[in-house]
């Protein structure tokens, strides 16, 4: 590997760009790929894109050429809207799973450091907070308030971004009403299909901690496998 390439890699990581080091295992040469920053289509870039999405380095063969693709993704982030009881359980689980967690709730009695001692709290309205936090492909968004005034602006911001996961707490009935409101705002069926609601895997969860587990498991499955279809 060239020293110059190592320096460029360090700079790219510093700038939180999603970068892949593609090493040709026969000739030993490496190159940096930024597959989300180009429209170019080729098998190597597609494999690099998939490796970044799955957060997993991989070997890749293209005819005679064998590559090793080592990935460098910026930290995962999770924005939890609603500093509710489930959030108290979900925030530390997400942190332990490697996420930088932000809990958003303008209601001070909910989003207090007493209730969330080691969590980054944001007391702005969700739309304002989302604007600045700029959710991206490495972000999961979970809304937990049940309150349309708080959840909907966050969901709208989420749907306009390319976050890898959107989850919304609420029963099937609440979920149907939410769909109706978002449809009225101009979102399509395809948009709404991105929202996982009722949130979490169906593991019979009852307590806040169990619900947090079901949400964390769903997010993990979508991050690592792309879907929960085969569960």
């Amino acid at each position: 590997m060239d020293l110059q390439l190592l320096k460029e890699l360090a700079e790219a990581k510093e700038a939180k760009r999603q970068v892949v080091v593609a090493t040709h295992v026969d000739d030993g040469n490496s190159q940096l790929l930024f597959p989300f920053e180009t429209d170019e289509i080729n098998p190597l870039l597609e494999a690099a894109r998939e490796a970044l999405r799955r957060d997993k380095p991989t070997e890749f063969e293209d005819g005679e050429d064998k590559w090793f693709l080592n990935i460098h993704n910026p930290s995962l982030r999770m924005f939890i809207v609603g500093a509710v009881h489930i959030a108290q359980k979900l925030a530390p689980m997400a942190a332990a799973s490697g996420y930088d967690v932000t809990v958003i709730d303008p209601r001070r009695s909910f989003g207090s450091t007493f209730r969330f001692p080691d969590v980054h709290l944001d007391d702005r309205w969700p739309d304002e907070a989302m604007d600045e936090l700029a959710p991206d492909r490495r972000t999961a968004i979970v809304t937990l308030t049940h309150d349309a005034k708080l959840d909907d602006p966050a969901l709208e911001a989420a749907l306009k971004s390319d976050v890898f996961y959107i989850g919304a707490l609420g029963s099937t009935r609440t979920n149907a009403k939410r769909h109706q409101r978002l449809t009225n705002k101009g979102f399509t069926e395809d948009d709404l299909a991105r929202i996982n609601g009722p949130v979490g895997l169906n593991i019979g969860a009852q307590s806040p901690a169990e619900i947090a587990i079901s949400i964390m498991a769903e997010i993990t499955a979508i991050l690592r496998k792309g879907s929960t279809d085969d569960l």
């Binding site: 190592l6 360090a10 295992v25 070997e59 090793f68 490697g98």
Partner: protein, 109 residues
């Protein structure tokens, strides 16, 4: 989180050794079979004094990787190493856990 921090440290250390005028090699796990101790993509940086940061196994094969890395620093180039387990080797340079790994070793030029 931890894994990411370790990965960052390895590359940062490789860079700082290089900038201090040392010879540096990088070892990367490129494939694993069975219960390998470190996942694909794990890295180890080695300098010409045999100092190392990061890991490519739970300590099972690092010694052998360092030997190869130091040879490469003198001769240049890159090399693919493969480690598995046999009963005789298990406490030498094999993997006691029973897995098999392939490691790509290269110099930083």
């Amino acid at each position: 989180m931890l894994d990411k921090a370790v990965k960052d440290d390895v590359l940062a250390q490789a860079l700082s050794w290089k900038e201090a005028g040392k010879r540096v090699a990088l070892a990367t796990v490129v494939q694993t079979w069975g219960s390998a101790p470190r996942p694909i993509g794990s890295q180890l940086a080695i300098d010409n004094d045999g100092q190392m940061v990061g890991s490519v196994s739970g300590g099972c094969v690092e010694g052998a990787v360092i030997q190869e890395a130091i040879t490469l620093m003198e001769e240049g180039g890159h090399k693919m190493l493969e480690f598995g387990v046999t009963n005789d080797e298990a406490w030498e340079v094999g993997l006691a856990c029973g897995g098999k790994i392939r490691i790509f070793v290269e110099t930083v030029n």
